[in-house]
Amino acid sequence: MSSVTEVFGGVGSWDIDLHPDTPRAVTQRLEMAGAGYACVIITPVRVDPVAVGADNIHTASIYAGMYRHRTGRAGSIGGPGLWAYLGNEQGVGPIVGAGLSDTRTYRAWCESLDLDPFIGTASTVPTSPTITWTTDRVMTRREALEILQELAGSHPFNGLDLHIDHRTMTIVSEPPVWGVFAPAPYNTPVAYPMFVPWWTPRHPGSLVAGQHDMIRARFEIEEHVEDYLYQSIIGATTSTNAVPAYAYPGGSPADVLQQKYVQDGSIPAGSESTVGVAEVGRHAAAELVISAYTDERDLPARVKPGATVALYDPENNLWDNTSPRPAGGREMWPTFTWAQSTRWPVRANMGVYIRFDDDSILNLSDWYVPGTGDAQVTFGAPMQTRVNGVVSQRGLRSQL
């Protein structure tokens, strides 16, 4: 089944299954001896590559990826997403030279690292914070970018995480949203896609500024508390959390305290309490995995990993009534989070093209086996604020 997986901060993957009837003239061009360096471009509808031209197809695309493997004559072809351009899992990619040792702004670092191998450096990259970084190691640009983002404290909510806009092949600070299926908001584009239960009535998303474009979905929720922590102990310092409850029930509660001894020589003297409080705080809420399944055809155009989204499903505890959002003649109270990954079928009547390094285009739109079924989105940690004043952070530990 032809499908694409996009992952926040990762390369993801794409797979296109070819129809057995694919002409030899087509499959021969896919042989690595000739195709070597190429990328796949997927558009939401078919376009004529001759009339439109390679650059314009790229501009109209909802996805682009690196062509890297194939099986059989007319079997499947695939590869990773665009981040692999900057360095793949084998350490292959454009290399950043050694001897980096400086204090520069975030944007200046991006510029000097030449992170954008395609067209300059995006001016949307924030200038702050200022980062001091010393390394004498040679690495790929992607590795350098990861270290840089870590030093900057990047998070999908603070605009410091960087994305590749597959349409213009530039580095951007907001994930790209394709403009044809996404209704243009009337005023300023403040409307984030809102995931709602499948039975929610639709409403025309373009009608009012600030209204959310609704994506009807089936939610799947998974919660874990195996690492609930009551106290963390660092040396002689014990940090205690009030939430969750004191201990598991049964017997004498004091006997089953959930304590954790944190052994880390790098914790500076005097910081034990700070680190300890952070440790219990991280483990005070359930680990929450939220997925949504939707048959919306244009999901990959509207939601890219790292994008801010709204979720509203009270029966699954996804709500936050501090911010009403009018939708479909009713009020809704979504909680805000961000998309962590998407996996979507390459549906019938989408356009699939291979762009070779000489900018010629091979049109596979007639010869791929369309994917079917729902697109899946997984979400990162929502920030939750409730009317009763309790603020809690929920989500995958790795994303907090």
Binding site: Y186, W199, P201, H203, P204, S206, L207, V208, A209, Q211, P314, E315, N317, W319, N321, T322, P324, P326, G328, G329, R330, E331, W333, V387, N388
Partner: protein, 420 residues
Amino acid sequence: MTTTPLAAGIRLGRMPYGILGNLETLEFDGEGLSMSGRVAPVGDGDRVATLAVRREQLLGLASPWDTTTQPIIVRDDPSITGHYADLSVRTDIDHMGSGHFRWQLSGRRLLGRDVPGHELHQVGGLRSNSHAVLVGSVSPWAAIPAAATEFFSGESSASSTFDLTRVSDTGSVGFYIYATGFNRRIAYFVCPPENHWDGAALITLGASLHPVTGRQVWDSDAATNSWRIGNGLVRVSQSATAGELLVESIGVANSTWTPENYSLRYDAAGSLITAFTTFTVLVNTPEVCSVRVGMRAGANRHRQLLDITVRRGDRLAEFTWRTDENLLGRVSHDPAEAATDLTVGAATVGIRETAGALPKWVIYTPAAATTDTVNGTIERTTQWPSFPFAIGMTNATDSTDDLRKYYLGVNECWQSLVGR
């Protein structure tokens, strides 16, 4: 002695008594039930049209969208009466030309016979408003049939009496106000099937105003077709003047409807909405019904939508009027009539009828509004693509302040039934 056949005494979901005809077969299989019958014959005239409506009503019972359970009442044989889940419906329509058709319905019987538990899920919050009204000064409420027993509000067991009982023309409704603000909560009650629809939100359609089941309508023409959305306390339809709203309300101590007409205007020139175009259902549950009515002004085809929402137990019908440009909007009582501003703090939240005795008509809006108290008009101060407002009547029990507090918070309710 004459015996009443099972004929007139069947009520499936929202379908009233007297139209489903004879119940002919009945089959139980574990928790499953299937029944079949033949609708009451329809005379000549609009025979096929009427039968088509009944067919659509039956098919709508199996709609998966809003309610997966339906009460089935067999008046003369209460042993069958109960709530049924996961319904599927079959109609044999080959005899429609001769005035009737056979129907067959099967489903799963909920444990608890006719009184399984009702869970009323709620989530809500402050309605976004320009009046600086905060969450502490609104009144979250929920309404259930007053005939319900074993009520648990979801917040405490100590105060489980209704704050109000409102007598609608489809039965009494218990009105409960939450003292602890908004939250996600689950209330519980038990209610006989006969009272399941007491004061329920209801969408009706066609010249004879047949209840709509599910989300499909058999006629989506809002101009020539009669349509109405209401809850037995307030109801909205189109007035005799095309493009005007007719909002009727029931006073506190009588069951007569007081009709009031309202016209809608938009843009700088004050263009008048002159016709309704389409009618579709957004939500159809006993707790809340929403419909979307398309509108136009003269030959202008520009997209104008009016979403109308009516909640069980509410004295106000809620409207959200939307279009694609900064054009909206103005609501005027028709004919022009003197009105008095309703304020909270320094903000104007609505207007009410000035003269005469209670009940008096009221219009509220959460948007910043300007009023014309000579003519009974309220409009959005800054024209905008959306204009939310609510229309109803205040009376001796429900003051204008009360209605404002009920309107500026929204407590969304939806019900699910659980076997015992």
